[in-house]
């Protein structure tokens, strides 16, 4: 009897302990997921007082280079973007609002989103993603989050037909446990090159919030899972308007841009149509070598290209702004 009870008790205890461990800073360097260490950048900035705040999804995080924009505009720039897996859980506003609470308002808020997810305003708890839950546990341990974690959810993304109804906290605990086991294997199993030691937080901080994605440029057209069936491409005009309405106040000019796509992308017409009239830049396509990790994240060449364009876009606005009367926010033209 002790054998069975002990075995069951150990597993339950492990599930709980893993969640507790995942909420400590130690976990971020022992989760075989160096990419998560860089997240939460906006929460660490106090009195940074950037003139240009870049915000968006991972295309923006890996693409818009604050240094290039700063060089062109002469305005202090920082990139506060977070991946969609984080924003889907914490909501699109939490990282940005946390920054605004500790810093003065920017003159420009440049938001950019990949065409398949051109939806700037996302409510919190929109979907389950372990990265988002980890972000919450690390940076916002509230009662609301705990209740949400324990909620029965409808389906697991990617589970296909077999939609499961697990408790999200169990899913997260299993994910976190798996990451720790992977980390152990990476560290101690021969032949598994450990990437755990890469300090992505330092990388990001040295680039004023941009995180160059550590992969070589693509050589052939690759579609990522982010690119949906054209029938499911939505038009989120309300979401874009909400972004402009909420943040285009107190002298902040809001720019909502759309990320370029590879020229070989067969869904570009559907995306162009869905986002038509909603963005402030031109919908552009670039060679596949300007991307890495599929067609969402940017290579160094792609990053430079879009950063120069964004810098010039702001510079033009800045010149316009310096000729009276200055705008009071709202949509940039």
């Amino acid at each position: 009897m002790l054998y069975v009870v002990g075995m069951v008790a150990v597993q339950i205890l492990l599930l709980v302990v893993v969640v507790v461990v995942a909420s400590t800073p130690w976990f971020l360097t022992h989760d075989a997921y160096p990419g998560m260490l860089q997240s939460g950048y906006s929460l660490r900035l106090k009195h940074a007082d950037c003139d240009v705040v870049i915000y968006g999804d991972s295309s923006t995080l890996t693409g818009l280079d604050p240094d290039i924009i700063q060089k062109i505009t002469g305005l202090k720039t920082c990139n506060l973007s977070e991946g969609v897996t984080i924003q889907g859980v914490v909501g699109s506003r939490f990282p940005l609002d946390s920054y605004l609470a500790n810093n003065k308002r920017p003159r420009y808020l440049l938001a950019m989103y990949t065409p398949s997810m051109f939806r700037p305003n996302v409510d919190k708890f929109a979907e389950y993603q372990p990265e988002g839950v980890l972000y919450l546990l690390q940076y916002d341990r509230g009662r609301e989050m705990l209740l949400w974690l324990l909620r029965i959810h409808g389906e697991i993304p990617g589970a296909g037909v077999a939609k499961q109804k697990d408790l999200w906290v169990v899913d997260f605990s299993l994910w976190a446990g798996r990451q720790m086991v992977k980390d152990l294997l990476n560290r101690y199993l021969p032949g598994r090159g450990s990437k755990t030691e890469v300090d992505t937080r330092a990388q990001r901080e040295s680039r004023n919030g941009m995180w160059p994605y550590p992969l070589p440029p693509e050589t052939e057209c690759v579609r990522t899972v982010l690119h949906l069936d054209p029938k499911s491409v939505g038009r989120y005009a309300d979401s874009v308007a909400e972004m402009r309405r909420v943040y285009g106040v107190e002298g902040t000019t809001v720019l909502v841009n759309i990320s370029p796509l590879p020229t070989c992308d067969t869904l570009q017409d559907a995306y162009r149509k869905a986002a038509e009239g909603l963005h402030d830049n031109a919908f552009e396509t670039l060679p596949i070598a300007d991307f890495n990790e599929g067609d969402v994240h940017f290579s160094a060449a792609g990053s430079e290209h879009i950063s120069v364009e964004a810098g010039e876009q702001i510079l033009a606005l800045e010149k316009q702004r310096q000729t009276p009367p200055s705008g009071t926010g709202g949509r940039a033209k």
């Binding site: 597993q11 296909g160 077999a162 899913d171 446990g177």
Partner: protein
């Protein structure tokens, strides 16, 4: 709901065990009724509306079983009801599993000119259909007794065997839920069952699921590689299939045991088999038994009867003649294995898989019969050599089993044959991994041997550590708890077992 998903082992299974313990207080009817209900929920969870097919199948077979019993004194009528029952079951199976793929095949071949679409394949239909066919035959032959609707539903749906076997016979399951037994959890059985389940889960989650991306990558783009890489891909898949299905079987047997119900074993180190005949007595053992009892034996009986009617001999000596061998050995083997292939799926590669194994078995029989026991050739083929030959034959068969099309089959086989030279192994790490897994398969004892649960008359397989025996002690507790924890962390909601599609 797959056995290796968190929803199953963290919620469903504990709830089923606790519920069984509580319902057992009120006696057999409540305990069996509870297990039947949770089994139906288990099926509904994964299949939703398709449960109607299962329910209709159970009801129809229950009625047919009743008619077989009622017509016991009228043999012709009883025979009619049995034939109708088998035909009905096979018709439903053919409709869901074969009709639409066949019609679409005709369209591809240009015989018909429309897209016939598809129907949803009810989960486990091959398994619950075979279970019920065996019941009807056993009932007619007096090997099973008529059951109440509740008992019969329990027999068919008991969740550890419902969706992917083992294929259970009435006499194996129902006597274990008689009035005599105690309907409470037995601590020894729960400990043993939990350990068995854990071993299966480790095989599935930590081995089969971890190597499946390697095998998938190989079979997704199989064209144009050297023999070394092609063999590595094929060997990897053979390991994935082995650990996936043996892992599933261990989990099923372990779950059943937690409720103090013993299932027949479904796996007995098939890659240690020294011949292909022996291989089939070790791989998916309950399917082989079903096929032998209900297909091979009747065919052989029919052939023998016809030979006797024509005044020909049916003795062992007669099988040593070419004509006798073809009629009494080769033909039944080929037909039987062809049907095994068909059972696995509607693709032409499954038919060829079955036929290939039929040819293997025929060659194996010919070797036994026509090559003298003391010949130099037989002495050359000692046990390690014959185990190796059998394994290689199985791997070649697995190429048919796994490939997405016939074109891929020939491409892989040609590459394995050296069409593009020996080439290089694409990843030495994968080669080491496959070698390590082969060492486990060939040198270690199997699960039932470790647990001391081998079947009667089964000799122990050779292993390097024959004395390793599980017992509910601290070292085993640590090892099992650790294995469960690691498997738990690596288990995900979206994994499924390879045999679920059958």
């Amino acid at each position: 709901m797959s056995f290796s998903t968190p929803i199953f082992y963290l919620m469903f299974l504990p709830a089923a065990l606790v519920g069984f313990q509580l319902m057992g207080i009120f006696g057999r009817r409540y305990a069996v009724g509870f297990l039947t209900l949770v089994s139906l929920y288990f099926y509904y969870y994964g299949s939703r509306g398709v449960i109607v097919v299962l329910a209709a199948s159970i009801l129809a077979n229950y009625v047919v079983a009743d008619m077989i019993v009622r017509s016991a004194k009228r043999p012709a009528e009883q025979k009619f009801w049995l034939a109708a029952g088998i035909a009905g079951n096979l018709s439903v199976l053919c409709f869901f599993k074969y009709l639409f793929p066949l019609l679409n095949f005709f369209t591809v071949a240009g015989i018909t000119h429309r897209n016939w679409g598809a129907v949803i394949l009810p989960l486990g239909i091959s398994f619950f259909t075979f279970t019920q066919i065996s019941y009807l035959i056993d009932l007619k032959q007096g090997l099973a007794q008529q059951e109440s609707l509740l008992n019969y539903t329990f027999f068919v749906t008991y969740f550890p065997h419902l969706v992917a076997g083992p294929i259970i016979r009435h006499k194996e399951l129902m006597p274990q839920v008689s009035e005599k037994r105690r309907y409470r959890l037995n601590r020894d059985d729960v400990a043993l069952g939990l350990t068995w389940f854990t071993m299966g889960m480790f095989k599935k989650v930590m081995i089969a699921d971890q190597i499946s991306p390697i095998a998938d990558a190989f079979f997704t783009r199989p064209q144009g590689m050297g023999a070394a890489a092609a063999w590595l891909g094929a060997l990897t898949y053979s390991m994935q299939l082995y650990f996936d299905f043996s892992g599933y079987s261990d989990m099923a047997v372990g779950i059943a045991r937690m409720f103090s119900i013993r299932f027949p074993l479904n796996f007995n180190s098939p890659y240690k088999a020294p011949s292909i005949i022996d291989y089939w007595q070790r791989w998916h053992m309950t399917l082989t038994r079903f096929i032998m009892d209900y297909v091979y034996a009747p065919i052989q009986f029919s052939v023998s009867r016809r030979r006797l009617e024509k005044g020909r001999k049916v003795s062992r000596k007669a099988t040593a003649t070419l004509e006798g061998f073809v009629q009494m050995i080769a033909m039944p083997s080929l037909v039987t294995m062809f049907l095994v292939g068909v059972w696995h799926g509607a693709g032409i590669q499954f038919l060829l898989y079955g036929l290939l194994h039929g040819i293997y078995i025929t060659i194996n029989h010919a070797w036994r019969i026509f090559v003298p026991g003391e010949s130099r050739l037989k002495r050359l083929v000692n046990v390690p050599v014959s185990v190796g030959i059998t394994y290689v034959a199985a791997v070649v068969g697995d190429v048919f089993f796994r490939s997405n099309s016939l074109r891929d089959v020939w491409s892989v086989l040609a590459d394995m044959g050296g069409r593009h030279g020996v080439g290089e192994i694409w990843s030495p790490g994968h080669a080491i991994l496959v070698a390590a897994l082969l060492a486990v398969v060939w040198l270690m004892p199997n699960t039932q041997e470790i647990l001391g649960e081998t079947q009667e008359n089964d000799a122990l397989n050779w292993s390097m550590v024959p004395r390793v025996r599980w017992s509910p002690t601290l070292p085993w507790w640590v090892a099992t708890s650790f294995s469960f924890a690691v498997s738990m962390f690596y288990s995900t909601a979206s994994t499924t077992f390879l045999y679920f599609k059958f």
